[in-house]
Amino acid sequence: METEAGAASRPTPEEAARVLDQIGRDRDAVRRLPAPAWYFPAVAAMVAAAHLSQLLPSPVGALVALAVVAAAVLAVRRHADALGVVGWSVPPRIWLPMGALIATAPAAAVLDQVYGQRWAWIAAAALGAGAVLAWGALHRRAVERGA
């Protein structure tokens, strides 16, 4: 390609293709850093707890939800420290479970507040936790494939 210290000359097409291949492998490698085993189950449990806390009487429910959010922030920080990276870009195959995860809370709130369907929080908890676990399974499979 060129010397590290000197000015870079333009690569030949073959060199450019090799470079693109290498940086593709580097990006894959960082995406496939294995998350700690506790991470996805812990986040799934916290997502479920945050939803189920809405079934508790006020203000206990709100306090539990706040505690869960604080625990989630700590878990994500711990995860980042253990892994050495923050903020993977989310691959397209994750968009659907992520969308489901994000949509569960407002959907349950509407069903509860407008239609009085309290069970919606249980369904949202199961769906949200399931989405996180699905993400974890996809991540584990990607790590194993890259190993």
Partner: protein
Amino acid sequence: MTDGDGFDATIHAPNRLRVCALLDAVSEAEFGTVQQQLEVSASVLSKHVGVLADAGYVAQRHAVRDTRRRVWLSLTAEGRRAYRAHVAALRAIVGEAEGAGA
């Protein structure tokens, strides 16, 4: 150091390009993680990070965790733009050759 087509001589040095590729895939990466992925010494990585930081492409954030001092690296907005333009320029070089050969 950027040509009209986005080719950036500062980024193109092998290890610097790999640093940018790693950082483009995440928001932030710890210095030790990048070093491990590139399989280079801390001093070599430090030198390249310094060049990228001087160019305004990489930002460094110092943090202490469990009494250990750690350095987190990230691409700046300018760095991300320059890296992506550089990759587009490399793809164009490959594409031109394929087009000429077709």
